[in-house]
């Protein structure tokens, strides 16, 4: 980790530790906006990392941003930091200055906006963002466009983690007047998925770290039959499995991030998504078995991370979805034997720039 990155991680950690209490997450799930937390993150420049200062960003690279998102996942920070960072990257690439406003994005290639009434379905944090970066068709042309939410009617909906996933009904918006850019379907889709999947994977890895921490704490703390439950073999097995899964998830994540940073990422994204989405359910399940009844209560913190794991593992397609995608590519585009495929390293001599 570079010194710069250590500093960013340290700062982020301090901010989130201080500002994200269980009650804040509860309130957010009840519909409140975590305004204070958001303001602090904005002021610290954390919602615009990976964007060059020329476009109003904070600088740093995408690896720094993924490190921030990993912590956001760990603390279950109830703000659209993931969406804002990635929307910011997409806009900066179109040379749009970043605004520091809470921003969402949605990739919906089958959608075609026409006329002056249309709906965006399942927009993450829809009710709380001031703009949505939409990637889909407008009048039958693929566009990346910025939709201000001011005039949108919000239909509340939420994912399994209680995060907003709202339908936005737009009315009276002039599609011609939007900030918008023509894009090529496949390349924009790949780009958005690269950012989004990696970002979510980082958040999932962070959430798993938190699950492990909570489990270790509980196993040390909780007494039964006169001794701490960490001394029971079954509980030890649970802890070992949690530690194993977390470590292997980090190994998947870190390799994918390095490949991305170096501009050589190919199947690493699929493989990391496949492994990490699979691990999410394992980790959540084991931690609940370990925590017993207390972990099933709203009062305990565990569910705030496990529900996020259950939600996030499905985002942008779960492991089975990506496995099928990879299988198709493997059959169609790949001439290598499996071992050649696994050890095929084009990395090490590629050094693409990583600041966006």
């Amino acid at each position: 980790m570079s010194e710069m990155q250590e500093f960013i991680v340290d700062t982020t950690n301090k901010i989130l530790k201080k500002h994200v209490a269980k009650e804040l997450i509860d309130a957010s799930e009840q519909g409140e906006w975590s305004g204070n937390l958001w303001d602090v993150l904005v002021e610290s420049g954390l919602v615009s990392v990976g964007i060059d200062e020329d476009f109003g960003g904070t600088g740093g690279d995408s690896t720094d941003a993924f490190a921030i998102l990993r912590l956001a996942g760990k603390y279950a920070a109830p703000v659209p930091i993931f969406e804002t960072i990635i929307a910011g990257w997409l806009l900066a690439e179109q040379k749009v200055e970043t605004t520091y406003e809470p921003t969402s994005f949605i990739l919906d290639l089958d959608n075609d906006l026409t006329g002056d009434e249309f709906t965006l379905k399942q927009v993450p944090w829809g009710r709380h963002v001031t703009q949505v970066v939409y990637i889909g068709k407008i009048n039958n042309q693929y566009k990346l466009a910025v939709l201000p939410t001011e005039k949108a009617q919000v239909e509340n909906n939420q994912n399994i983690a209680g995060e907003p996933l709202d339908n936005l009904r737009f009315k009276g918006l002039n599609l011609e007047e939007l900030t918008q850019f023509e894009v090529e379907r496949d390349s924009i889709s790949e780009k958005v998925l690269n950012y989004a999947v990696l970002g979510k994977l980082a958040m999932m890895a962070g959430a798993m770290e938190q699950v492990l921490d909570l489990s270790v704490f509980y196993a040390n703390e909780r007494q039964q039959f006169g001794r701490s439950i960490g001394r029971f073999q079954a509980v030890q097995h649970h802890l070992a499995a949690l530690a194993s899964e977390t470590a292997v998830v980090l190994a998947a994540l870190n390799y994918a991030i390095v490949a991305f940073e170096e501009g050589s990422m190919k199947e690493e994204l699929s493989l990391a998504k496949m492994k990490i989405s699979e691990a999410a359910g394992t980790v959540a399940g084991i931690s609940h078995q370990l925590h017993g009844a207390i972990g099933m209560t709203h009062e305990h913190q565990l569910h705030q991370v496990t529900r996020r794991l259950w939600a996030w593992r499905e985002d942008f397609g779960n492991e089975a979805h990506w496995a099928k995608k990879l299988a198709k590519a493997y059959i169609e585009d790949n001439e290598l034997s499996l071992w050649d495929f696994i050890t095929n390293e084009k990395r090490g001599n590629v050094h693409a720039g990583s600041t966006i």
Binding site: Q224, L302, R307
Partner: protein, 384 residues
């Protein structure tokens, strides 16, 4: 090692006909808007109105003597009704414990007065019970409970606290395991008794324990000098542990240990059938094979219970396997069908998936954790 064969039960034509009647009744109720299908409905879907309807149809306390409002039907008939209720995900949480555990407990250990007083009301679907067992820090070690009942003139004075009490905020009574004499380390299970506590009595306070979804099913029940008259003691003083354990056998091997997530499986299979997706459907049907086998087993245990045989080992086996199966449904289906699990979704499969995932961890915890069950089973097989 003892033979693990269980009886093979063949449903008679009459039983199959009865099943279809129940099924059609429930379908028409659902169509008329009396309820919506949910996963895990026996734990979470509460409707006093619907319980009353079931009571009026003679579907509660079915096996009990007619003299107490029962129908004197067989355990297999009751099994059929239970299956149909769960498979359609009907709202049965209100009367569940009264029908499953409290009624049979009264029949076995209760006085005539208790039977006369409680059973007809339960069978009508108008009288709901909770079970007061766990306490803070008792964890899996129920012998360590501290709620105590002190003998006083004409009854008992109860002080203490119960936790994880399902439905206490709706129920009329709670069957409460209390210490009636101090703990004896040599015989840790002695000195406990079961008392029926009126949840509206003075000194009773019910406080919600929010479920991780924010839903309210569980409670803490505080008892502060609650007076319980002598005629509300069940069975013998000091015999509460044994009575309570017998009660638990009823709850280990029923269809509710297999079918909690069945509505999701059904929805998934219909979807895959429509999609003509042979490969994915095959994987879903592998779950069906597990379920079919478990169901055979569970019906066999029901038959043994009916015949008064000891099912402590086999019932534990059913629960261990069944609850794992219930969890496996969601984890398998999500790999076969793209969903966005959400309790607020308008898509049925997204909602059932959310319910199944969120309630999933509880399946292997409630009614004896996996660890406890496996301990029981291992001791059972090692001893043979």
């Amino acid at each position: 090692m003892k033979n693990l064969d269980l009886p093979v039960v063949k449903f008679t034509p009459e039983q199959n006909k009865f099943r279809m009647e129940v099924r059609n009744y429930l379908k028409s109720e659902r169509e008329s808007g009396a309820f919506e299908t949910t996963a895990d409905s026996w734990m979470t879907s509460y409707s006093p109105e619907f319980s009353k309807k079931l009571g009026s149809q003679g579907l509660i306390g079915m096996t009990w003597p007619k003299q107490y409002g029962g129908q004197e039907r067989s355990a297999i008939d009751r099994y059929i009704v239970t299956e149909e209720l769960l498979a359609i995900g009907a709202p049965v949480a209100a009367h569940w414990f009264a029908d499953r555990q409290s009624g049979p407990l009264f029949l076995k250990f209760g006085t005539d007065e208790q039977k006369d007083f409680f059973l007809p009301k339960i069978a009508k679907g108008e009288c709901f019970f909770s079970i007061g067992l766990s306490e803070p820090n008792s964890g899996s070690d129920l012998a360590s409970i501290q709620t105590r009942a002190e003998k006083v003139e004409g009854g008992w004075l109860v002080n203490g606290m119960k936790i994880w009490t399902s439905g206490a905020h709706h129920s009329h009574y709670m069957i409460t395991l209390c210490r009636t004499s101090p703990k004896d380390e040599k015989n840790r299970h002695a000195g406990m008794s079961q008392l029926v506590i009126d949840l509206s009595a003075d000194g009773v306070t019910v406080q919600p324990i929010q479920f991780l979804t924010g839903e309210h099913h569980f409670n803490e029940v505080f008892m502060d000098n609650v007076f319980v008259p002598d005629n509300r003691l069940i069975g013998e003083v000091g015999n509460g542990w044994k009575q309570g354990m017998a009660e638990l056998a009823y709850e280990r091997s029923g269809p509710e240990r297999i079918l909690s997530t069945f509505p999701l499986l059904q929805e998934a299979v219909e979807h895959l059938k429509e999609q003509n997706d042979v490969s994915a459907l095959a994987q879903a049907l592998q779950l069906v094979a597990r379920m079919w086998s478990l169901r055979n087993m569970s019906i066999g245990v029901a038959q043994m219970l009916e015949e008064g045989e000891d099912v402590s080992l086999t019932a534990s086996l059913v629960k261990d396997l069944g609850t794992k199966f219930e969890q496996a449904v969601a984890e398998t289906v999500r790999l076969l069908i793209d969903t966005t699990p959400s309790v607020t979704s308008e898509k049925l499969i997204d909602r059932l998936m959310a319910e199944s995932v969120l309630h999933g961890p509880g399946f292997t915890l409630r009614g004896g954790t996996t660890e406890i069950l496996r301990g029981i089973v291992a001791k059972g097989v090692l001893a043979q």
